[in-house]
């Protein structure tokens, strides 16, 4: 089987994979980083969203070999260096931006991607950027609220629904 190597959350990793091994399978099964979820496996739900070379992608719709020699960031690398939640994760916690939590890793990675280029997104821009991330608890209201809060915007007048 071909070898693949990449930097994942700042650490060099390698392994042997088949051509058909998806990037999400390599991350979960070879690296045992199971924070990246497989929700639909059909490119719809975004639970597997990660960053490759700083760009948001769906890890279920990319082969591991396509990430050879690239830099990958997953939810496991998002916390602060001291292990505390980063500002996005903390905002999701503070504003109840998760219910069952299955979609949350993808939501956090999509949010990090959005805030890199848009530090104060409007509600419309947030919802537009989350188009590829599905929450089947339908908890979008508080996800959007958490992202507004994470970007330093006043959410005191938004009801906790």
């Amino acid at each position: 089987m071909p070898d693949v190597k990449m930097i994942v959350n700042g650490k060099p990793v390698s392994g042997s994979v088949e051509g058909r091994t998806l990037l999400v399978e390599f991350i979960r099964n070879n690296l045992h980083l199971t924070g990246t979820h497989v929700g639909c496996d059909t490119s719809q739900c975004g639970a597997c969203a990660i960053h490759v070379d700083g760009k948001l992608v769906k890890a279920c719709t990319m082969f591991a070999l396509e990430a050879n020699n690239r830099e990958v960031a997953t939810i496991e690398g998002q916390a602060n260096n001291d292990g505390s939640l980063n500002f996005i994760q903390q905002a999701f916690k503070d504003h109840h931006g998760l219910q069952c939590g299955f979609c949350t890793p993808g939501m956090v990675m999509a949010t990090a991607d959005l805030l890199k280029t848009n530090s104060k997104p409007t509600e419309h821009e947030i919802r537009d950027h989350l188009e590829g991330n599905i929450c089947r608890c339908t908890g979008y209201h508080n996800i959007v609220k958490a992202i507004l809060a994470a970007s330093g915007q006043d959410v005191s007048r938004i009801a906790a629904e």
């Binding site: 490119s43 975004g46 969203a49 070999l65 396509e66 188009e131 590829g132």
Partner: protein
């Protein structure tokens, strides 16, 4: 998904050599092909990825005013480029979702020619030229029906050259789950010619709505479309929209394109 041999050439000539195997298949951004392979609707023995070929990426302005976009350029890179005309920016910004736009490529979209894809409408409406390793193909000759194009075995879309219209608009009536077009209308207004391409609607895939072009060339206004009749025959009918509804939307979305052309 069945297994395959994965190849990732760094140049076009390496890619062409890798394609000699009969069962080899090109892989662009994979946002259609990978889901298709998961369903075992495609099972190539060799997959030749184009994503490492730098010479196929990028956007440049040509001396004659046209814009060339490399076949391996992602939708996100098109959407973020300030040299692109308004209709094409709107189109690229609204394909799929943010993650899909970071992987999917213009070459992949055109080569696949999904009857509901967005890029075929832009290429046909502007009269773009599809440039392969062998030849240049005008968009009017390129699209040959649902999932069919003029591409031959072993032919790779290296770039697409778009004439730049003075006014353009892309209006997409979106299928909210798949984000494909139920009906998409691309309008290009050149100084002497208006061209209208419709995607999502017809069983034969993208097509030019010639009657609307004639009417709009005579009088560029929404009202000039009022008397035109769009027949449901030949339109796609499915759980998302009946053929009658798609026929109705063709006129509605074309009017919106006229109104919003910029």
């Amino acid at each position: 998904m069945y297994n395959f041999e994965f190849k990732q050439p760094k140049t076009v000539s390496e890619a062409l050599s890798a394609l000699v195997n009969d069962e080899a298949q090109l892989l662009g951004g994979g946002q259609t092909l990978i889901p298709t392979m998961k369903q075992r609707l495609a099972s190539p023995s060799t997959l030749v990825s184009l994503t490492a070929i730098e010479e196929m990426k990028g956007i440049c302005l040509n001396d004659d005013g046209s814009i060339s976009i490399g076949g391996g350029t992602t939708h996100a890179d098109v959407a973020a480029n300030s040299n692109i005309f308004s209709g094409l920016i709107t189109l690229a910004k609204n394909i799929g979702d943010a993650a899909v736009r970071n992987r999917g490529t213009i070459g992949g979209s055109l080569a696949n020619n999904d009857p509901a894809a967005c890029y075929p409408a832009a290429a046909l409406s502007t009269g773009a030229v599809i440039i392969t390793n062998n030849r240049e193909i005008s968009a009017d000759d390129f699209f040959r029906g649902m999932f069919e194009t003029a591409l031959e075995e072993g032919e790779i879309i290296l770039s697409v050259r778009f004439p730049v219209p003075s006014l353009s608009s892309y209006q997409k009536f979106i299928q909210p789950a798949s984000r494909f077009a139920i009906v998409g209308v691309f309008l290009s207004n050149f100084e002497n010619e208006i061209r209208i391409a419709i995607t999502g609607a017809a069983e034969e895939g993208v097509y030019r709505w010639r009657e609307a072009e004639v009417a709009l060339n005579a009088n560029f206004s929404e009202g000039s479309l009022n008397d035109l009749l769009v027949e449901p025959e030949g339109m796609i009918g499915d759980i998302h929209a009946s053929s009658e509804y798609r026929a109705h939307l063709v006129k509605v979305m074309t009017k919106r394109a006229v109104k919003n052309a910029s």
